[in-house]
């Protein structure tokens, strides 16, 4: 019953893998409309193609391709050894990733939703964050914890938390959060390359936003180090002169919309995209605020003891003599994230940002 079947040679196999990679490259070449989700998906595929130690696992990331389809096609292309579903246990996912990183792999793991990551908090705070330090640098943990986070999608309870402060507060974790399609690609590649563990926070409401991007040229730029690193580098999303709006992740687009509205009222606002909360770029932000003399920090997370609070404190410590007004915050309320019908009242809005800008004591200058 066993017919003699010709074995495919290694060469044939390689051709097949090459073909898949080549097909992907061809499809990604040229400026085209690309979603945030597609950029992340391509970054994962390119990283897995680039380095066989890169693995992707989590809940529903295999055949389904992730509930947000960020891992779409990876199992098919790279096999079940490299992109696979795990039992439903977040602490288990993070804990196993730690062991894999200890043993030569570069795991990328997906927490399905922000609030579902909490069972893994002990692994993250006690081990992911501390292993490098505890072993005096002998046991680095190159791993990426991807967390879809924040609201704006009409999500139900436990699906819309802005949990970045927990991670940013924990020494030893880097915290990245892109706000553009281009950064989604580049920052994820950078996070995967990082020798340090990165909590990679993906604003859910941006998954379906589009930009004109050439993914293949981004891949080449990244792999030949032709683009400056984003780590520790805030981006000036909009240049301006009158006041600085400081935002990250899901709030950057709201800040940009507010700046456009303010321009109609004759105020030229600068918008800064923090990009990496840890490490934090004090220099770019301080330079901007010293120039404009006014600042508003915008973030979806509840404002009390938040990343926004930290940014305000840092700006006031560094820019006090340049400030014409106190640095203000526009944040989520100190309530649990509200149900879909109420989230518009909770989230920082263009109007609320403009109100804050209006409150920056302009009359005293005039």
């Amino acid at each position: 019953m066993s017919p003699s079947i010709s074995t495919s040679s290694p060469a044939n196999g390689n051709v097949s893998a090459e073909t898949a990679a080549q097909a992907a490259r061809t499809a990604n070449t040229g400026v085209q409309s690309v979603t945030f989700a597609k950029a992340l998906n391509t970054a994962l595929a390119d990283a897995m193609e680039h380095d066989s130690a890169v693995l992707m696992f989590g809940e529903d990331v295999g055949v389904l391709g992730g509930v947000f389809r960020i891992t779409d096609g990876l199992t098919k292309r790279f096999g079940t050894g490299r992109c696979f579903d795990t039992p439903l246990a977040e602490s288990g996912i993070v804990g196993m990733a730690i062991g894999m990183a200890m043993n030569g792999m570069r795991p990328v793991i997906e927490m399905q939703f922000d609030a579902f990551a909490y069972p893994a908090f002990e692994q993250i705070a006690s081990h992911v964050a501390k292993m490098h330090n505890r072993t005096k640098g002998k046991m680095p943990l190159p791993m990426v914890i991807r967390i879809p986070y924040a609201g704006g999608i009409g999500g139900v309870e436990h699906h819309c938390d802005s949990s970045e402060a927990y991670y940013a507060h924990t020494p030893g974790l880097k915290v990245f959060t892109p706000s553009t399609v281009k950064d989604a690609y580049l920052m994820l590649r950078e996070a995967i390359d990082s020798p340090d563990p990165v909590v990679f926070m993906e604003p859910k409401k941006l998954y379906w936003t589009k930009e004109q991007v050439d993914l293949e040229s981004l891949r080449l730029s990244h792999e030949t180090s032709m683009v400056p690193p984003t780590e520790g580098k805030a981006a000036i999303a909009r240049a301006g002169t009158d006041a600085t709006l400081i935002a990250y992740g899901p709030s950057v687009s709201t800040a940009l919309a507010a700046a456009e509205a303010a321009a109609l009222e004759g105020r030229n606002l600068e918008v800064i995209d923090v990009r990496t909360i840890v490490p934090f770029d004090d220099a770019t932000i301080s330079e901007s605020v010293r120039k404009t003399g006014r600042a508003v920090v915008i973030s979806e997370a509840p404002g009390f003891a938040s990343v926004a609070s930290e940014i305000v404190a840092r700006v006031q410590e560094r820019c006090f003599h340049s400030l014409a007004a106190p640095v203000l915050r526009v944040t989520g309320f100190d309530t649990p994230f509200p149900p879909p019908k109420l989230e518009k009242y909770f989230l920082p809005s263009v109007d609320r940002i403009l109100d804050a800008v209006d409150a920056l004591q302009w009359e005293e200058v005039a």
Partner: protein, 461 residues
């Protein structure tokens, strides 16, 4: 790609095939080969890959024997492994997974070998006596372990070490955990497993680094294949699972031994680790030292399971319990577990019944929660005296050997005393150096601030 029939009934034929790692590209790739060979006619046959990208990857093709149409079968590698290994022992998978009715024990409390029929063994749960050379080498580590425990406790009392959770009374478990592993096998110890870490080869003073109050783990985990001693309970079991998973994906035959105590089995990560290891069919030995207490809380308040080893069957893995003060039985049971795991039969859970003869740490007062009579009863089962009696009676332990072993234990104790006597002050600047692979701007600023403070202190002296 050689094909051979693995099993056949009227529903389905299973065909196994081997392939080279480089050959694997996709299921579609394999289906095409099968189709072109005329073996199957359907476009998308059910093909399962076993052993992942491991050293001996195999594929399973399942199809209907008559129509040769694909047959939808979900293959569970772990279940297949379980069926194969249990049939090898001639027992059912359930009997393989359930621990033997009593613990496995070989030496009685006086060090006499139990008759073969009274060692707790059952069909499929047989444990041959380890070799005399292995027993003597293990005894040497046992003597050293006891000496290390007592020396360290003395150093704590003298204020020369910050804390030491002693494994006094559990040394047989400590020694067996280390000696059952090969050089490339990993160990994931807890804070009470310092003796096991030393027995795996880590230099005594490196092991004691954090206990003496320094901020880091001392040794390099990669060098010794020993992870840092875990303080949070059972978090390290998942790391063990990850190390084993990575090794398996690369086709290495590494076995990982992950240690925890009885109280720790109540933790969520214990459950997640055992389940992950079983689902991914990973070579991990979960070694539970049931020393009867989690600080003050007795086992009866942690679990009402028939035994901790019985928890294994709930995950689809094999469990066994063993007299944890019987070094001979421990070496036999753990040795077999490592062998089974290395052969690809998945994880195993071994529960050792032992006793923490001393307090949790020097900060604990055990008289508040247990009676002296209970402690005395366990002292009568001391692993050291049992092993010494057995070896002496068997003529394996000569006076000269005993002297040599005592001397090597003394040498380790002296190393510890001398090491703890040397005043080493950690460098405050190092606080900032290893938080990340390179310090952030903020950490550099803080390092400068502390350096400034220290410089000013120097100036005012």
């Amino acid at each position: 790609m050689p094909l051979s029939a693995l099993s056949k009934n009227h529903h389905v034929v299973t065909v196994t095939f081997s392939f080279c790692l480089q050959d694997y590209r996709s299921h579609a790739h394999f289906s095409r080969i099968f189709r072109e060979a005329g073996y199957i006619s359907v476009a998308k046959p059910i093909i399962e890959l076993r052993n992942g990208l491991g050293s001996n990857p195999q594929g399973l093709l399942r199809c209907h024997p008559k129509s040769r149409k694909a047959w939808t079968v979900t293959i569970n590698e772990s279940r297949e492994a379980m069926e194969q290994v249990s049939s090898k022992f001639g027992i059912t998978p359930e009997d393989y997974m359930l621990p033997a009715r009593t613990e496995i024990h070989m030496l009685d409390v006086n060090g006499k070998l139990h008759p073969a029929g009274q060692q707790g063994a059952e069909p499929g749960h047989e444990y041959p006596l380890p070799s005399p050379a292995a027993l003597l080498a293990a005894y040497e580590q046992l003597v050293i372990g006891r000496r290390v425990n007592d020396q360290n406790s003395a150093l704590v009392r003298q204020g020369r070490m910050a804390v030491y959770p002693s494994s006094h009374g559990q040394e047989a478990c400590q020694v067996a955990a280390a000696l059952c592993l090969g050089e490339d096998d990993w160990m994931f110890p807890t804070y009470r497993d310092s003796v096991a870490v030393m027995a795996k080869g880590v230099a005594p003073m490196e092991v004691m680094t954090s206990f003496r109050g320094d901020w880091h783990s001392g040794y390099d985990p990669n060098q010794y294949k020993v992870s840092v001693q875990a303080t949070p309970l059972t978090t390290q079991l998942l790391h063990a699972v990850g190390v084993a998973h990575a090794a398996k994906l690369r086709g290495e035959d590494t076995v990982v031994l992950a240690m925890c105590g009885d109280g720790a089995t109540s933790e969520g990560d214990f459950h997640e680790a055992l389940n992950f290891a079983a689902v991914f069919n990973l070579p991990v030995i979960f070694f539970v030292q049931n020393n009867q207490y989690a600080i003050s809380v007795p086992l009866s308040q942690q679990s009402v399971a028939p035994s901790l080893a019985h928890k294994a069957v709930g995950y689809g893995m094999a469990g066994e319990r063993v007299d944890g003060n019987d070094l001979v039985a421990l070496l036999a049971v753990l040795g077999r577990a490592v062998r089974l795991a290395r052969e690809g039969n998945g994880p195993l859970l071994v529960e050792a019944h032992t006793y923490r003869m001393q307090a949790h740490t020097n900060a604990d007062d055990a008289t508040r929660y247990r009676e002296d009579a209970e402690v005395q009863a366990w002292i009568a089962k001391d692993p050291l005296t049992r092993m010494r009696s057995y070896l002496a009676d068997a003529g394996l332990l000569t006076e000269a050997a005993e002297e040599r072993i005592t001397a090597s234990a003394e040498a380790v104790a002296k190393t510890l005393r001398d090491g703890m006597n040397s005043e080493e002050t950690p460098d405050p600047a190092e606080l900032f150096a290893y938080v990340f692979s390179s310090p952030t701007t903020q950490l550099t600023e803080q390092a400068h601030m502390l350096a400034d403070e220290l410089a000013r202190e120097e100036d005012t002296k």
